[in-house]
């Protein structure tokens, strides 16, 4: 841009790159949604019956991933946690293994 130094241009480019990277890390269930009704509908997928989806958030040993590892928002992780525990109780997924 006219009048902007090289250093400022570089800083601007870096900020743009970082913004793109952080967007990818945002929760896959609430990404881009602002309306509470839409968020609620999106979080409904985190159901104890949806074993395939739940299995993606478990280690090979059957443990839940941390929020840092899964990238989930707080409400999404809470729903996931509850769904996994119900699914374990119903023998849809194991407690261990």
């Amino acid at each position: 841009m006219r009048g902007m130094s090289q250093a400022k241009l570089k800083a601007k480019e870096k900020k743009k790159r970082l913004k793109k990277l952080t967007e990818r890390g945002v929760c896959r269930f609430t990404r881009g949604l602002k309306d509470p009704a839409e968020i609620k509908k999106s979080l409904q997928q985190l159901d104890y019956k949806n074993v395939d989806l739940l299995a993606r958030f478990l280690t090979p040993q059957g443990k839940l991933f941390s929020r840092k590892r899964s990238g989930n928002s707080q409400p999404a992780q809470q729903r996931l946690k509850v769904a996994v525990k119900y699914a374990r109780q119903l023998a849809l997924i194991p407690y261990v293994g």
Partner: protein, 138 residues
């Protein structure tokens, strides 16, 4: 109040066919004054771990309406029953969640494309005792 119930039935006590499974669950719910909105055999599958020595069970999913003090009695009956292995009764609030069966979840799973098997073309598969002298010795 509106509830969603998932019931596990013992295959050795109750036949796995849909009519009998749903009948058993439906009878239990009506005994406790429930108004059954929808009931379906969810799946018959292998359990992630053994329950009462059983490795497989039938799952029945039901959406029903019931008085608020009744689920506790229902859970009590399920615990004492020999036909039921487990039950999960959840209060769903104002609206019932979507009623999705195991078959529908299976259909939603992305299908992997099968890779074409490589038979090596015309290359003859060599056996260990093949010394290449077959035609010579014949």
């Amino acid at each position: 109040m509106k509830y969603e119930g998932m019931f596990l039935l013992d295959n050795s006590k109750v036949k796995a066919d849909a009519a009998e499974c749903c009948g058993v669950v439906s009878d239990l719910l009506k005994k406790h004054g429930a108004n059954v909105v929808k009931i379906e055999r969810w799946d018959e599958r292998k359990l992630a771990y053994e329950i009462r020595g059983q490795k497989r069970a039938t799952y029945v999913l039901a959406h029903f309406e019931m008085a608020p003090e009744k689920p506790a009695e229902l859970r009590g009956d399920v615990n004492l029953s020999e036909s039921f292995l487990r039950a999960l009764v959840l209060n769903v609030g104002e609206d019932f969640p979507p009623f999705v069966t195991a078959a529908e979840y299976e259909a939603m799973r992305p299908k992997k494309e099968e890779e074409p098997q490589d038979d090596g073309g015309d290359r003859r598969r060599r056996r260990r005792d093949d010394d290449g002298m077959e035609d010579f010795n014949a």
